[in-house]
Symmetry: C2
Subunit: 336 residues, 2 copies
């Protein structure tokens, strides 16, 4: 299979964007990515989105993007995998190019969560769990994260100030990202004194559910230099699925899917884990970012919080992590 490369990107400001519709956001980011790539041909479109059917009464986002851009006669699909929808759309887009079935693919991700009232937003996030076993009990996503945080802290004797370094790092990095929702620096004390969301999780450990869109143009590496002076080669893009429900997992404190996907990605990229020098992890809650760092193999199980607290994930650290600000600092427009 041939290699794929990114030749254009587009991103909207992330935040509470009351004056823009989901369609506006998709059009803005997709147009920016097409302009940067300077191409006039798209063979396939993949759109990552989690909740627009509930929040905007809008499905069929593939066709919606076609309408926005005046593109027709291409396959255009929405990819949904809950909080992983955007990354999953990227993986499908890469596969499409690397397999030779498309020469130029638009991958877009978008979400507009602030149109939802808070109870609805919470309900949307829980659709990613198994409703029969878990969601109908009334627990929220923050509640699930709280259970994991408490268990993790007890089992590995981790203190809240260690975990708090995850969002502190995110906010610091977000100040360098013009598109980020939050540009305020926070300290460990700010996190520990912010309001309780779901004991022991506090407000400043939780990423905000936001509005925004992001787009990429992917083409084969061999032709990428025709369109871009600095194409980004995609060495690998892998996804894996573990048990859906928390109660079905072998270990509540391990995301097996992160381990499996990382292992396949490293193998496909033909690199070692030591070769990785920038990391982006899913920090919807601080604990999920810390667990990802462990499960991907960058820290021993139970040592992730200390790894974070010791400054390894800072821009000047051994493994700069969530350099765009993470979900916590950039904001979390789920599908984007």
């Amino acid at each position: 299979m041939r290699k794929a490369a990114i030749i254009g990107i587009g991103c909207t400001k992330i935040g509470e964007l009351w004056n823009k519709s989901l369609k506006d956001l998709l059009a803005e980011s997709a147009t920016a990515s097409l302009n940067e790539a300077g191409i006039d041909r798209i063979d396939a479109i993949y759109v990552g989105n989690m909740g627009s059917e509930v929040v905007q009464d809008q499905s069929n986002l593939g066709a919606l993007v076609c309408d926005c851009l005046g593109i027709d006669n291409v396959p255009a699909l929405r990819i949904e995998a809950a909080g992983a929808s955007g990354a999953a759309a990227l993986a499908e887009g890469v596969k499409s190019v690397s397999s030779g079935s498309a020469e130029c693919v638009l991958v877009a991700g978008a979400e507009k969560m602030t149109d939802a009232v808070p109870t609805e937003a919470s309900r949307v996030m829980m659709t990613g769990e198994d409703p029969e076993y878990v969601a109908y009990s009334g627990i929220s996503a923050a509640g699930l994260h709280a259970l994991i945080t408490r268990l993790y802290s007890d089992k590995y004797e981790v203190s809240p100030d260690q975990i708090a370094m995850m969002p502190v790092n995110a906010h610091k990095n977000a100040t360098n990202n013009e598109f980020a929702q939050f540009h305020n620096l926070i300290e460990v004390d700010d996190v520990l004194h912010s309001g309780l969301v779901s004991d022991p999780i506090r407000l400043l450990e939780c990423a905000s559910l936001s509005d925004g869109a992001a787009s990429l143009i992917i083409c084969p590496l061999e032709t990428a230099r025709k369109f871009s002076d600095s194409p980004v080669e995609i060495l690998a893009s892998e996804i894996a699925t573990d048990s859906l429900s928390l109660p079905e997992r072998q270990d509540l404190l391990t995301f097996n899917a992160s381990t499996w996907a990382t292992s396949r990605a490293l193998a496909n990229a033909k690199i070692k884990i030591e070769d990785v020098n920038v990391l982006e992890v899913h920090d919807e809650a601080a604990i999920t970012g810390i667990m990802a760092i462990e499960d991907m193999g960058f820290a021993q199980k139970g040592r992730g919080a200390a790894f974070v607290a010791d400054g390894n994930i800072a821009i000047e650290g051994t493994l700069p992590t969530n350099t765009m600000g993470g979900f916590k600092g950039r904001g979390n427009p789920v599908g984007a």
Copy 2:
């Protein structure tokens, strides 16, 4: 790219399945397809579904299927393209096998629409349109079909009894499909005297929104005979997108996407349109089936209703169509 083949299928009964959950339906059809294929390896899972986020508070159907089947460490995604979700999931699955990125793929489609109250079901179907331009006007999917039916009938001087032959054929074929929702024969007079849904469309022209699931196992053609004595070779699987909204279309009576996708599929399959001897079209309303027959090139524009009324689409006709009963006779579990 190598050829792909179907080596196992599984289908649930279609209908009002009050005693089965969406998960039950997915598990039943997927297990049946895996058993028929006799394989113990799946490399990727694609699930087609339109409305479960709204109707069942359930997204993340890829991971849900993994949970049902005890499969992990594979990419598992939901594909959504409104009423085309199931076919789009199939196209992605075929691409995955033919490109060499997977050896064995499970494609599942499922929907459980009867959990929704009628107004909610109607709202779900309209999420496939553009809400800003069309859905918020209050028109329903049946209303859009009614506008098209009236325009078609006026422009091409077609009578209701010609259009009615579409559902009459569907119900006749459904009597041979053990999984079909409806096993009652209907006549043209029954259609013309059934209740008005949206003038001029009557009840027996409209497919029912149903519950059900269907699954396929796909592997490379070259290895298919190891698993099946009668693998079904997939010559091509193509999708295309036209303008999303009815008011944005160049011609309200033409589905350009059908023309484009058919043209690409015939080219990829290296066959001529005359070589096609069985056809399945989307007959959510009778008029959409008739327009598909025209736009795919099997009848001249405006002559589709006469083509249908003249008996060409019957099992013993020149082009047997919707032999499983169509959406009208089999029932329409959208993503399946």
